[in-house]
């Protein structure tokens, strides 16, 4: 690899795109927005984690999960359990019949903390669980399904059913989970009040930092041979299999990766919003997450971030001004992205903006490098080729 030096990488086209995103998230938005709006952007960004995972899982490997909310929720619940235990000191809960346990347990006649809550006294365990619990569930689901070659639509429907099951369970077991209200009234993280403006601003930057970590992990994966195999698997699963790869293992890996990202996003969501509830796990929430990824461009990890930001910002904007129009807009977005722009924003960017950039910076136009009909793929380890934000032409009508 020629571009090993980080400085050089930042000067490359891909590096510049990352810099632009960093500039937007670290400098422009914090300067332009008041803490209240910035906090909302932070909330949108937590969905970007899910969207990045979906790019890897759905865009690249062709596995559409309609249950990403499950992993988002699990990560979020792990965080919420830790914070709730911290908030439920015996002093703070002195009026309860059993002081020292979360308030909703007391209302439900629980007299001691359930065993699975105990470990969440520990912050390090919590951090581990935020990634570990979603990954473990993803592994179990993935192992059961992918080794038996369940894929495509079937996988989508089963993950959807799992989202439904978990929602009903959490709502029904309210003594252990807080029920439909969720786990609320979270105040401090290791003694640090997360409700103040300063804390919210700091959490925003933590969120941005972790987002970039996940972006780089995703980028690393897609640029290795693994990334190419994921894409290849999507188009020619049998060829990959008969080239000696255990296709199921790769699918499990990428599904777990997406679950881990979603779990981190969920934990940050809990911190930024201040509570967690089953409504973020359910079917509707999970399908909405797919549209973040689809709008950004299902093959572009950077696009996923913009997709999550834009859809959520539009949702807030619409619901403030024209609430009854929002479902129409959202519906049209789904249909439009699928019918007219299957490559989402990243595709539009490549078609319309990049030629302008080329002219502006007098770069060699891309078309000369790869055939216009089918720009070549993904990320290559080798030298010198221009970065392709769309990463791959999505062409379902492959011969």
């Amino acid at each position: 690899m020629k571009n090993t030096s980080p400085l050089k990488w930042f000067a490359s086209r891909e590096g510049l795109y990352y810099l632009a995103l960093a500039l937007l998230l670290v400098v422009i938005l914090p300067l332009a927005l008041d803490p209240f709006r910035l906090n909302m952007v932070g909330k949108y960004l937590t969905y970007a984690f899910v969207a990045i995972g979906l790019v890897m899982c759905w865009g690249k490997a062709g596995i559409l999960s309609l249950g990403q909310g499950v992993f988002f929720g699990l990560g979020g619940y792990c965080m919420a359990m830790f914070l709730k235990l911290e908030a439920s000191t015996p002093e703070a809960t002195a009026i309860q019949s059993t002081p020292g346990i979360p308030d909703f347990m007391d209302w439900n006649q629980l007299t001691e903390l359930p065993w699975f809550w105990e470990p969440f006294h520990s912050f390090s365990f919590t951090l581990l669980a935020i990634v570990g619990v979603p990954v473990l569930l993803a592994f179990i689901i993935g192992f059961a399904m992918f080794t038996r070659r369940v894929g495509g639509v079937y996988f989508a429907i089963i993950t959807q059913a799992i989202a439904a099951i978990l929602t009903i369970l959490i709502i029904g077991q309210q003594g252990y989970t807080g029920g439909v209200n969720g786990i609320t009234d979270l105040q401090t993280l290791m003694g640090w009040d997360i409700r103040t403006d300063e804390a919210k601003t700091i959490l925003y930057f933590v969120c941005v930092g972790l987002l970039f970590v996940c972006l780089f992990v995703a980028r690393f994966v897609q640029n290795r041979k693994l990334g190419r195999i994921l894409v290849a698997m999507n188009a020619q699963e049998n060829r990959v299999r008969f080239s000696g790869y255990d296709v199921a293992a790769f699918k499990i890996f990428v599904f777990c990766l997406a679950a881990a990202f979603a779990g981190i996003g969920g934990a940050l969501f809990t911190l930024i919003v201040g509570f967690m509830s089953p409504s973020f796990i359910g079917i509707v929430a999970s399908i909405e997450m797919v549209i973040f990824c689809a709008l950004g461009g299902r093959l572009s990890i950077l696009g996923a971030v913009y997709g999550a930001l834009l859809v959520n910002a539009a949702k807030s904007g619409f619901s403030e001004s024209f609430p009854e129009l929002w479902p129409f807009a959202m519906g049209a977005l789904f249909i439009g992205v699928v019918l007219a722009f299957p490559n989402g924003l990243a595709g539009l960017y490549q078609t319309y903006v990049m030629p302008l950039e080329d002219r502006l910076f007098k770069r060699k136009p891309k078309a000369a490098v790869s055939a216009p009909a089918k720009p070549a793929p993904a990320a290559r380890q080798d030298e010198g080729r221009d970065y392709d934000p769309m990463l791959d032409q999505y062409s379902p009508e492959k011969s």
Partner: protein, 252 residues
């Protein structure tokens, strides 16, 4: 048990009593045949005789209802597809299936037998060794000059060769080719025959083919299948003169 062991020592591939049925229909019915090392075997037979299914069974794409497939002492019916590949069986499909989005180089690189586990694929680096192996195979399959081309721009025949190349780079002991010259021009057929002859110096090859001219060019022995069973087996001259074969091909 002992007999079976002895056989698997003598033969590279021993298929015995192989049967598969789809909802009662036996696509392959109590089939047995044996391959010697470095042999080129061609399977012929009318449409629906079960030829492709045999390859599917050997490479694990279809699971056998009963019977055994012994390869180099290993029972393949119990292995998963990628394990079968790792034990040295390569399979080319009837329609060319290469990775259209990748270049020829990358197609071969992905097939290089290293970094096949998830972690391996994460850690895989393009070493000089890999590059050398890729260039070597590219030479063999007449695609040395096309290494940087996306596979989608190759001609139909070139894609077939590329797929053969993707098998070769895995250094398999047994190559299974399903109609490798289907849809090729005359010139391409000739080159493919030459390619196969080169390959057989180090490989055992099992081919399904319709083109009798081509079969005559390459085959050591020919197995004729009909309705899931072996109808006749032997040299090309032998099976051509077998009345049962003539009956099946010309009788109806």
């Amino acid at each position: 048990m002992n007999a079976a062991k002895a056989q698997s020592k003598d033969f590279l591939l021993a298929v015995e009593g192989l049967t598969v049925s789809f909802d009662g229909f036996k696509a392959v019915d109590d089939l047995s045949f044996y391959l010697d090392p470095k042999e080129i075997r061609v399977i012929i037979g009318p449409n629906g005789a079960g030829k492709t299914t045999v390859l599917d069974l050997i490479c694990g794409k279809t699971k056998a209802t009963s019977g055994s497939i012994k390869f180099d002492g290993k029972e393949l019916t119990r292995l998963k597809e990628h394990q079968i590949v790792h034990s040295g069986v390569g399979r080319k499909f009837q329609t060319p299936s290469v990775f259209e989005d990748l270049t020829v180089f990358e197609n071969l690189e992905v097939s290089y037998p290293q970094g096949h586990s998830v972690m391996g694929a994460l850690a895989f680096k393009r070493s000089a060794e890999v590059v050398a192996a890729v260039e070597d195979v590219a030479e063999t399959i007449f695609l040395k000059d096309a290494l940087e081309q996306p596979a989608s721009l190759l001609s139909h025949g070139q894609k077939q060769w590329l797929e053969i190349g993707m098998l070769l780079i895995q250094k398999p002991d047994l190559l299974m080719l399903d109609e490798p010259v289907a849809g090729m021009s005359v010139a391409e057929r000739k080159k493919t025959a030459e390619l196969l002859r080169r390959i057989t110096k180090d490989h055992t090859v099992l081919v399904i083919e319709h083109d009798m001219q081509f079969v005559g060019d390459i085959a050591d022995r020919v197995t004729v299948m009909h309705q899931g069973k072996v109808l006749s087996e032997g040299s090309i001259e032998h099976v051509k003169s077998d009345p049962k074969v003539i009956e099946v091909y010309l009788g109806h």
